[in-house]
């Protein structure tokens, strides 16, 4: 890590604009004001490193990226980058709206230094990755933002870039494409250098080694991605609060999980939250490519007896029984409770708990996945419990057998007056504090 080759270097980078002030004389002009969109940024990136750039709208993120890839000239400082840079800046940049997608692919790839033969060879791969079908032969101005993002990403993913600069592009695609992009970026990271701008700190923390936090055009923090992201979120929260003049000012704080789940003492426990459980239906809506089947889904007590009623706020055991018809490598068994509207209330799977163990379902074997947890109080109404066997990893899996509404639940009476769930309280209390002076 120490002696890695530096591929991007920026020193004292800055960019300023002259803003015309309101009320300036239309002819004499004058009254202008200097505005620094970016100032004093020092940055080095080694080969194979991934850097996330975060910050609010107008913090200078896009300006920085444009300076780095050379589409904007710095007012101060210098930038040096080695190798082929593919940049996905704001939507539509680099595309000519009146040319077709096909023509734009040729143009873009040529600008990035690919020869005619190389482009011809890769065109099909690019078109397949973009997955926009017939639109490839229509002018780009007719594309939706999602389609533009797809095409732009497809091109830059196929030009053997050394440095990839991506500006918030995953947010406009649909879920399937976002997943494809993430997988591609993960792969690219192994060999290339990635610069990634996003509002989604979750993605930055997952994808990047380091993160750069810009605020009002200046570097607020540069360090390990997870730390910078957490500090950034904390500052956002603080800001929302700053308007609240009466709020006591206390330093921001990062979460840390606390151990053993404490005992619950919720006044609502004195009320009933009986939840009726229907039997498992093997004709509930299902899909999957088969190989294993869910044969039973039930709630059970400690003795293993099937329950037809459970109580909100208590500990329950959910058992999902499966039959493997053929061998299934890396199976994941999971569930999701959905409310009347089909919204996901809560769920979990065996993936995280068991990912470090050898997992395999032998052919013609019966399996049971058990989940033991404290049920929240459920609002009155109907729920469907989805059970599924998938294969692969959390991020990339295929559906073996997915049963929607495998079991139906009905909460007939509930202490939950508002909201999706009632979280069992450890304590609810009122204390008198001394009268403020």
């Amino acid at each position: 890590m120490s002696a890695r080759e530096i591929v991007v270097e920026a020193r004292a980078l800055g960019k300023s604009y002259r803003l015309k002030m309101r009320g300036a004389h239309p002819i004499i002009g004058a009254a202008t004001e200097e505005f620094w969109a970016l100032r004093n940024v020092d940055l080095t990136l080694a080969r194979g490193e991934a850097l996330g750039v975060i910050g609010e709208n107008g913090a200078g993120k896009s300006t920085l990226l444009r300076l780095l890839c050379g589409t904007l000239r710095p007012t101060t400082g210098m930038v040096h980058a080695e190798g082929r840079i593919a940049a996905l800046l704001e939507l539509g940049a680099g595309f000519n709206p009146n040319f077709t997608g096909r023509e734009n692919v040729w143009l873009n790839a040529a600008v990035l230094g690919l020869s005619k033969a190389e482009i011809a060879e890769r065109f099909d791969a690019i078109a397949t990755f973009a997955g926009i079908g017939e639109f490839i032969d229509l002018p780009v101005r007719l594309y939706s933002s999602g389609m533009q993002a797809r095409l732009a990403f497809a091109v830059s993913a196929h030009v053997d870039a050394d440095i990839l600069i991506v500006d918030e592009i995953l947010s406009v695609g649909d879920a399937a494409f976002a997943q494809k992009c993430s997988a591609r970026l993960e792969k690219f990271r192994k060999s290339g250098t990635l610069l990634f701008v996003s509002h989604n700190t979750g993605t930055v923390a997952r994808l990047c080694d380091r993160a750069l936090w810009l605020e009002h055009g200046e570097v607020r923090e540069l360090g390990p991605a997870a730390d910078v992201c957490a500090n950034y979120l904390a500052s956002l929260a603080e800001r929302a609060e700053a308007e609240d003049s009466k709020a006591r000012s206390q330093p921001a704080r990062r979460w840390k999980p606390l151990e053993p789940p404490p005992l619950v003492n919720d006044p609502r426990q004195r009320q009933r939250n009986a939840i009726a459980i229907s039997p498992f239906s093997d004709d509930a809506p299902w899909h999957g490519h088969g190989g294993a089947r869910i044969t039973d889904v039930s709630f059970r007590d400690n003795a293993g007896t099937r329950l037809c009623e459970i109580e909100g706020g208590t500990e329950v055991k959910l058992s999902i029984r499966c039959h493997a018809e053929r061998e299934i490598a890396e199976p994941i068994v999971g569930f999701m409770l959905r409310d009347r509207l089909g919204q996901n209330v809560f769920g979990d799977s065996t993936y995280l708990a068991l990912r470090d163990t050898q997992r395999r379902m032998a052919a013609d074997q019966e399996f049971v996945a058990d989940f033991i947890f404290q049920l929240p109080f459920l609002a009155a109404g109907d729920y469907g419990l989805t059970a599924a066997i998938t294969q692969g990893t959390q991020a990339d899996h295929t559906h073996v057998h997915w049963v929607e509404e495998a079991v139906m639940l009905n909460a007939r009476e509930s202490p939950v007056a508002r909201g999706i769930v009632g979280i069992p309280a450890i304590a609810v209390e009122i204390e008198k504090t001394t009268a403020t002076a």
Binding site: W255, P285, N344, D370, I430
Partner: protein, 458 residues
């Protein structure tokens, strides 16, 4: 709800010409009357839909399936090749960012232009300008040209305008891409109120938003309607279709089964009915409408309301799975016979995820000038990533009625970045997870066969 559709599309379609060679374009121009020199490509075809007053419809589908094209035709910014659209009432649209605005004009000028395009007179616009500016909340930028706006400010202005023109139909492309957490709460509160009487049409890739916000969903695939039905049903089918696309062996992929309602919990299936809620000792539970709170009458004031960590420090970023305390500090300005505290926590869609109140606790009396704090301590579920708004209430419970003294909203946010892989609204920590092989018959478990792991609670 009148049964007459407010938005009606019949046989709607949009075709584009694809010229395989540049020369074809010239040929078409010269001899197009006799022969076609292009291929037709239908971005949208054969869409029939009627949306009634007060209905919300979401349009879902992959990129390039024709969602945006359809919305543009419905709003009239794109002329259909075939079919027709009929609209009754005023349609306000938020399509691609900045469409409809002139980047050289100031925000103020754009508001006036935009409002007049939507049919508001100069006087009406002037009367509403303050409300629009307050909603957008972009301060002095209102008098700067739009080209200096960040995309967030752009969205704020566009939404503020649409929200203040008394639209009958609101058309929104990608509903959740607006502003910061506080602005989003404001938008969702507006939308939730708008939905009660207005008609909403929107495109979203967020199945959670679709499930929560709309009555029906239209699923487009390659420009054609693949499904039209309840949001829940369409979400389910769309998920299955996406899974099919990912499956290695699509030939073996199957979809089956029948949906059943919870009414399927017929008497034969269900256990003997349980006794109705047992009477509990002490006071009754507090009932109030958080979406439309009663009028505040004063007498006490909420000083602070905050998420705190177990040690009392203020908490702004959480991951879930930790002990969290919600504290509400109140000062009484007069004697309060029995004070009751309540809170709700809303997600990005403005929906209440959880709430609690002290109505089931012993009664508390507050004298004038006295202060009190309510503490709700609980294990925070693994909430979905995003910003959560805390809204707090303080009531006085009296013999006859319970009255709202003070209410605070949108001052406090908790940012959640969850390590939990499930996308539930409130995932909970499992105490144990195990996957074990069992004998083919019976319930006895076989000793750890392939994998077994018990997690200590965490």
């Amino acid at each position: 709800m009148s049964s007459e559709p407010v938005v009606e599309a019949r046989g709607l379609g949009k075709a584009y010409a694809i010229y395989r060679r540049p020369g074809d374009r010239l040929k078409q121009l010269l001899w197009g009357r006799w022969r076609r020199h292009y291929e037709e490509f239908w971005a949208v075809r054969n869409v029939d839909i009627g949306v009634r007053r007060g209905e919300s419809v979401a349009i879902v589908g992959a990129n390039g399936s024709g969602k945006s094209t359809l919305l543009q035709m419905i709003c009239g910014t794109l002329r259909p090749t075939e079919g027709e659209v009929r609209l009754r009432g005023r349609v306000a649209a938020m399509l691609a960012l900045g469409s409809g605005f002139n980047p050289e004009f100031t925000g103020r000028e754009n508001v006036h232009v935009g409002a007049s395009v939507l049919g508001l007179g100069a006087e009406e616009t002037a009367a509403r300008f303050e409300a629009i500016a307050a909603f957008a909340d972009i301060g002095a930028f209102m008098d700067q040209p739009l080209k200096r706006y960040s995309s967030g400010m752009h969205a704020r202005l566009a939404f503020a305008l649409c929200a203040n023109v008394d639209a009958d139909v609101l058309v929104i492309d990608e509903i959740l891409s607006v502003g910061d957490a506080a602005f989003q709460q404001k938008c969702m509160r507006f939308l939730n109120r708008f939905r009660l009487k207005g008609t909403l049409l929107f495109v979203s890739h967020d199945s959670g938003a679709v499930a929560k916000l709309c009555d029906r969903a239209l699923w487009l695939e390659r420009g054609e309607v693949r499904g039209l039905g309840s949001a829940k049903e369409i979400n389910r089918l769309y998920l299955a279709a996406q899974a099919e696309e990912r499956a290695e062996d699509q030939a073996r992929f199957e979809i089956g089964g029948r949906s059943r309602s919870a009414a399927a919990l017929s008497p034969a299936d269900t256990p003997a009915p349980v006794a109705s809620n047992e009477p509990i000792d002490g006071p009754a539970q507090l009932v109030f409408e958080a979406e439309d709170p009663p009028r505040e009458i004063g007498g006490a004031q909420i000083q602070t309301a905050a998420f705190c960590a177990a040690d009392g420090e203020k908490l702004q970023v959480a991951g879930g799975g930790e002990v969290v305390e919600i504290r509400i500090d109140v000062q009484a300005h007069r004697d309060i016979a029995d004070v009751v505290f309540a809170f709700v926590v809303r997600d990005r869609l403005g929906q209440i995820i959880f709430s609690d109140d002290t109505s089931l606790c012993a009664s508390h009396r507050l004298a004038a000038g006295e202060s009190a704090v309510a503490k709700f301590r609980f294990l925070l579920p693994y909430l979905a990533n995003g910003a959560y708004a805390l809204e707090s209430f303080v009531f006085e419970r009296a013999a006859g009625a319970t009255v709202l003294l003070h209410h605070r909203a949108e001052k406090q946010f908790l940012y959640v970045q969850s390590p939990h892989p499930s996308n539930g609204l409130a995932n909970i920590a499992m105490r144990a997870v195990a996957l074990r092989a069992v004998a083919a018959r019976g319930e006895q478990s076989v000793p750890p066969a392939d994998a077994r792991l018990e997690m200590a609670g965490s």
